[in-house]
């Protein structure tokens, strides 16, 4: 199953809808600083939910290296495609 970046962002929107109490609109530029609810604790739930929903496993430390939702989506795509990078 191959997904496009847009599809990944759409799926992320669904996950954000489940997790955040307030409405958060997913855009590639969105980052944690811009969302009040998105603290380090909620981030843990978010990462776990994303792994489960996409059936992927991130490697230690790599989610921390993504600066915004677009970069996070790219990481998801790399893991989905089994790219070794």
């Amino acid at each position: 199953m191959s997904m496009t970046r847009t599809e990944v962002l759409e799926r992320l929107q669904e996950i954000f809808d489940d997790i955040f109490l307030d409405e958060v609109v997913v855009t590639p530029e969105l980052s944690a600083k811009e969302v009040e609810e998105w603290d380090s604790l909620l981030h843990i739930s978010l990462v776990v939910s994303v792994e489960e929903a996409f059936d992927v496993k991130f490697r230690v430390g790599e989610v921390e290296g993504t600066g915004n939702v677009g970069e996070f989506a790219d990481l998801i795509l790399r893991r989905l495609n089994g790219t070794n990078a």
């Binding site: 109490l21 604790l41 739930s45 776990v48 489960e52 991130f58 490697r59 230690v60």
Partner: protein, 633 residues
């Protein structure tokens, strides 16, 4: 199911919940409870928890939750408590109502417990949930050390944790939920892992055992060892999230722990279930007794399906050891329904195990409501199990307090279904003792009587039976007519009569009709035997003799015999004539008269005529104390 259709189903379910929330429809809360109960994944649980928070934020409250009674739960431990605290808050609040949560700092729990001024004690929790620091469960000696040295450290780790719990208990009076230690699911030491007492595998198992063995009642173990075993060890731990955020438990295990915690908290308040009401056909045996007869039902070791039903009965019977009462509600004729309990050799459940047996054509919910009245128990202490969804639905609708279990299509999994319902657990032995009801006592007395009876005689003696004989009475007419028209098995002639025909017997001096009632120390069996005698010169002919099978083997027939002879004497008859007319169902009384000392006049397979001389008849000794006007004279 493909992954897409699964995702779609989940999306639909999510949409349904969102819509109910939007409409502020109270069914939202019931559906939320069901979904939470069934949720197996972390993502689902977070979604459900989120919806609950959104509902709370908009002022839409669970009608079952009492805002006055908020439960305060503190979570402390040696690993990150979030997001576990979030899903524990969710699972506990959907089962037990309003919850407020306090989370301790990461791995600061020892000083939080130690310091009487800490935020833990400020919070004044009702319940404290503790996950100990995993790294403390470690043997510090050498791998080749023998059992004595290892045992010393096992006890030291166990006692340290129990001591922390005791201190919290002393300072707060809270109930403590203590997680035990995870076992390593990885190959490492090979044979040594299994054989050496000092290996991590053996050491941790021993610590868990030691904690459990010494835990007082206020400590409730959240058994991570067991939950991990259920889930699969490799699925229970996630090294990456340990390094990233100091999570000890994998997301899936967190879901399992949250559910278990909700169950433990829920069972602190909820009274245990007291009665299991069973359907019969295709529930405790295979097939329909009314159609297939006692020989036709599937039960016992002759077929795999029969074995499964027998295993189910064996498990049900074992529940009586925990103080559970068993009852039957079945759509059947009583005679048909009770027959396997009396004479099917593979039946594990017997008449004496059933505190209330209702086989009739009334709605089952009616039967259950009557049982609740008879046993003076609330409907909420009843569990009803049936394989028929329609029967379950009626009970859900008209007696929603009753917990129902709809059995699945395969009897092989019936036992599992009952165990997984978690309705028959007991929290502690003292609790159980304290909650004893009159019914429990009666039941245990009944069992005591059976258990201590080394032979039938002392059992019968212990029953303290009382029999009352009366002439036919107009008040009894409906019951007499009912027995005359319904009894099939213990019925010598199966002569049916209408109520008015029975009434004519009362008037006719050539007839003598009488009834017998039986009671014992467990209760009243009511009117259980009917006899009609007809005088023909100096012979008293027994036109009708029938008895309810509930009181078989209670010496009732002997006592009825004594009564017949006493009445024959009063009527100045010199002999008694007995008749047996065979039917498809009364084979059990084929040799009835011979057994009572009558001599055979004539007889074949279908018919028998027997004779007994009144003079020289010695009343048969029984353990029934009798009240009879015929014998007083």
């Amino acid at each position: 199911m493909t992954s897409t259709s699964f995702a779609k189903a989940t999306a639909d379910e999510k949409q349904e919940l969102r819509q109910l929330l939007k409409d502020r429809d109270d069914r939202f809360w019931d559906l939320l409870r069901t979904r939470t109960d069934e949720a197996a994944s972390f993502g689902e649980m977070i979604f459900l928890a989120g919806l609950r928070k959104k509902a709370a934020a908009s002022g839409f409250a669970d009608p079952r939750a009492n805002p006055e009674e908020s439960l305060k739960i503190a979570l402390i431990g040696g690993s990150t408590l979030f997001p576990l605290s979030d899903i524990i808050e969710h699972t506990v609040s959907v089962t037990s109502g309003v919850v407020s949560i306090h989370s301790g700092d990461f791995n600061n729990y020892r000083s939080e417990i130690d310091d009487p001024e800490s935020s833990l004690y400020d919070f004044a929790p009702d319940i404290v949930f503790v996950i100990p620091d995993d790294s403390t469960c470690r043997y510090t000696g050498r791998l080749i050390d023998g059992p004595e040295r290892v045992t010393e450290q096992i006890e030291s780790v166990a006692n340290h944790n129990l001591e922390l719990c005791r201190l919290m208990r002393d300072r707060t009076g809270a109930e403590i939920v203590l997680c035990n230690f995870l076992l390593p699911p990885l190959f490492d030491l090979g044979q040594f892992s299994t054989k050496a007492p000092a290996s991590e595998w053996n050491f941790r198992k021993a610590v868990n055992l030691s904690i459990a063995a010494s835990a007082p009642n206020y400590i409730h173990i959240c058994d991570l060892e067991f939950l991990t075993y259920r889930l699969g060890g490799l699925e229970a731990q996630d090294e990456r999230s340990w390094f990233e955020s100091k999570q000890l438990l994998s997301p899936d295990l967190q879901v399992a722990v949250a559910k278990e915690t909700a169950h433990i908290v829920g069972s602190l308040k909820k009274a245990a279930k007291k009665v299991l009401v069973m359907d019969l056909d295709n529930t405790i045996w295979g097939g329909i007794i009314g159609d297939e007869g006692v020989e036709g039902i599937e039960l016992g070791d002759t077929s795999p399906r029969g074995e499964a039903f027998k295993a189910f009965q064996t498990y049900i019977l074992s529940l009586t050891d925990r103080g559970l009462l068993l009852a039957v509600s079945s759509k059947n004729d009583h005679e048909n329904a009770i027959e396997p309990f009396q004479r099917h050799p593979e039946m594990v459940l017997r008449e004496e195990h059933i505190v209330s047996f209702k086989a009739n054509w009334e709605p089952k919910v009616q039967n259950i409501i009557e049982m609740a009245e008879e046993l003076s128990l609330g409907l909420d202490s009843f569990v009803f199990v049936d394989d028929n969804p329609a029967e379950i639905e009626i009970v859900n609708q008209f007696a929603p307090e009753v917990t129902t279990i709809l059995l699945g299509p395969d009897p092989a999994f019936y036992v599992r279904q009952l165990k997984e319902s978690r309705l028959f657990e007991r929290s502690s032995i003292t609790d159980e003792d304290a909650n004893k009801t009159e019914q429990y006592k009666r039941e245990s007395e009944r069992k005591k009587a059976l258990g201590s009876a080394v032979d039938m005689d002392s059992y019968l003696e212990s029953l303290e039976m009382k029999g009352v004989f009366r002439d036919f009475d107009r008040l009894d007419l409906p019951r007499i007519a009912q027995l005359i028209n319904k009894s099939n098995q213990f019925n010598l002639t199966t002569r049916r009569r209408t109520e008015s025909e029975v009434e004519m017997i009362i008037e006719d001096p050539d007839f003598t009709g009488f009834t017998m009632r039986l009671s014992d120390k467990f209760g009243d069996h009511g009117l259980i035997s009917v006899v009609i005698g007809k005088r023909d010169g100096d012979v008293l002919e027994i036109d009708t003799w029938l008895m309810s099978c509930r009181v078989l083997k209670r010496q009732v027939e002997e006592e009825v015999m004594n009564e017949i002879v006493a009445r024959a004497r009063l009527l100045q008859c010199t002999s008694v004539k007995g008749l047996y007319l065979a039917t498809a169902k009364n084979g059990m009384v084929k040799r009835h008269y011979q057994g009572l000392g009558f001599s055979t006049v004539r007889g074949n397979e279908e018919f028998g005529e027997y004779q007994l001389s009144v003079e020289g008849f010695e009343p048969r000794p029984t353990y029934i104390s009798v009240e009879s006007t015929a014998r007083r004279i």
